[in-house]
Symmetry: C2
Subunit: 333 residues, 2 copies
């Protein structure tokens, strides 16, 4: 049984923000699965800031997406045809299926998901890579101690919103930095002690007022002035965890670095980068912990869902960089 | 017995490099020691990059030097008069005596030095705070493993030259970054595997050629482009140790930060600041280790000695920022 499917491929590497020349939408007939393969009908596709970095032709932790290749993306779906012993028709799965309506898979990097526990969008958010990133970034890289002061930037995003709630569950004081009053209001609603609107206020000065005790863990998704604001307000022995730098991903040249990095000396602090992919073996531990918190009402998983199918991917990705999402941004296929 | 002494005091906080308005030379009659005090005739005064930071009126790990106060400095000398049970006339000592010919002390922060083991300048260098900085920065903060690749900037300075030799003694490949062919030649002579002259070459490109395996420990005294060169060449799991940023200490505004800090993510690396003063309880361990290496000919301690007494301090300090020294820069009183 051959399947007609629509896919989004990389046509040209962007300078700055991706535009209409970056992508190509193609119609393909998917080959029938061979022994050990199966077909997935994709229902939701993840939109992640890191995607922008995969478009650059530079050595990094993963190879860049090649010109003409289907855009790389985590996604969820249902098995529709299978010649693989571990995947049966009807199974709900999550994996790196890409920006496509259907995918042929050999099972590598694919996991079963329990959609009775949480819907597919949550399996791309709090129970997906963003949730794993928050968990290992906070507990392993950030070495969180109960009762510490935690500040997270990009706080209303997929990673930040989970991270702040995890820290609250450990008796921490948690301050989020986010863009706009709605996001800040939501952060307070889900338990953040304070939320700083970086579009309205100077984050460096507001942090000075809000966390006079200093920051123990600063978890940064943004970079630029916001990272500097954190560096200027560290407590002795602080851990700065570098997750991302969304403010810089579309810059056409290498932006300025954190001017206040010498605060690391005065505060005897560290700044550490990490990649969640290194923790793959331990995802079950994080999924179990986060799922238990969702189930008992101690963690709110939120997604912003964009409709329109794979053809809406280019615009949805731009939306991510314009901050349209509260919680995880997901494209519905 | 009252002592006439010459001292250098801070007259005005400098913008940029200190100049003739920064300092005031005063003649003072030192009061006689009371019970629990003693007088030291200072013979050598340390010149340190960190001194420049102590002149700024900002919150830091130590209070700034106050206007009208004797300039803070580590120094060595001989006890000439004592009413303190632990210090006898003739004892050789090291302490924070300041830029002065004589100092009155109550013994706080003062240690006896064995000038039979090494001369007073070495007690301000390899066996003083620079040596302690190298030891704890490399082994504790840098968590050095035998056989790793170590790159140190400011390699021909007081800290860098000791650090490189410590790493060599642990079977490491060691590359130093220094300014000028003479310093680089000296580094090769004392056992560095390679030396990069940042005045003649592009350190980022030269590191790429010199350490294709990547850097495990990058120990930075300089900041700016040199820190970026290190960040661009990290191996997975690298430790960047921030000791200082001499390139920035005289800047009139906050200089740019390390543009390539996102390498910390790709390399799963950390960047950590530290202050040697936190290791005070453990100085004896480092002194014993370094002294043993000096004694057995495995570590060369070198000092550049400036004469002229305390009145020569202002010019000698500028010399430090112009890189006149190979090894530790010391002022002879």
């Amino acid at each position: 049984m051959s399947v007609h499917t629509t896919q989004v491929r990389l046509a040209r590497r962007p300078q700055g923000l991706p535009d209409e020349h970056t992508w190509e939408v193609t119609e393909t007939v998917l080959p029938s699965p061979k022994q050990g393969q199966f077909v997935v009908a994709v229902d939701h596709i993840s939109l992640d800031p890191a995607m922008r970095r995969w478009l650059n032709d530079v050595r990094s932790y993963v190879p860049p997406v090649g010109i003409g290749e289907v855009m790389r993306a985590p996604a969820t779906g249902t098995v529709t045809e299978s010649r693989h012993p571990d995947y049966a028709v009807g199974d709900a799965v999550s994996g790196w299926f890409g920006v496509t309506e259907h995918a042929l898979s050999d099972g590598e990097g694919v996991t079963h998901i329990d959609t009775g526990l949480a819907g597919p969008p949550t399996w791309l958010g709090a129970l997906g890579l963003p949730g794993m990133t928050a968990w290992f970034g906070l507990f392993d890289v950030g070495r969180l101690q109960d009762g510490e002061t935690v500040v997270v930037s990009g706080a209303a995003g997929a990673v930040g919103s989970v991270l702040g709630q995890l820290a609250k569950a450990h008796g921490c004081r948690v301050v989020g930095i986010a863009g706009g009053p709605e996001k800040c209001a939501w952060l307070r609603k889900i338990g953040f002690d304070e939320a700083i609107d970086y579009k309205a206020d100077n984050p460096l000065e507001r942090l000075r007022e809000t966390v006079p005790e200093g920051i123990d863990v600063f978890f940064d998704n943004i970079g630029g002035d916001i990272l500097d604001a954190g560096l200027a307000n560290l407590r002795r022995g602080a851990r700065v965890v570098i997750c991302g730098a969304i403010s810089a991903y579309n810059a056409e040249k290498l932006p300025e670095g954190p001017r206040r990095y010498m605060s690391l000396v005065v505060s005897r602090a560290s700044m550490t980068g990490f990649l969640v992919l290194d923790y793959e073996d331990r995802y079950p531990e994080a999924i179990e912990g986060i799922n238990e918190m969702i189930r008992t009402g101690r963690l709110f998983a939120r997604e912003t869902i964009v409709s329109g199918g794979v053809r809406a991917f280019p615009e949805a990705l731009l939306g991510l960089f314009h901050g349209i999402n509260t919680g995880k941004l997901v494209l519905e296929v």
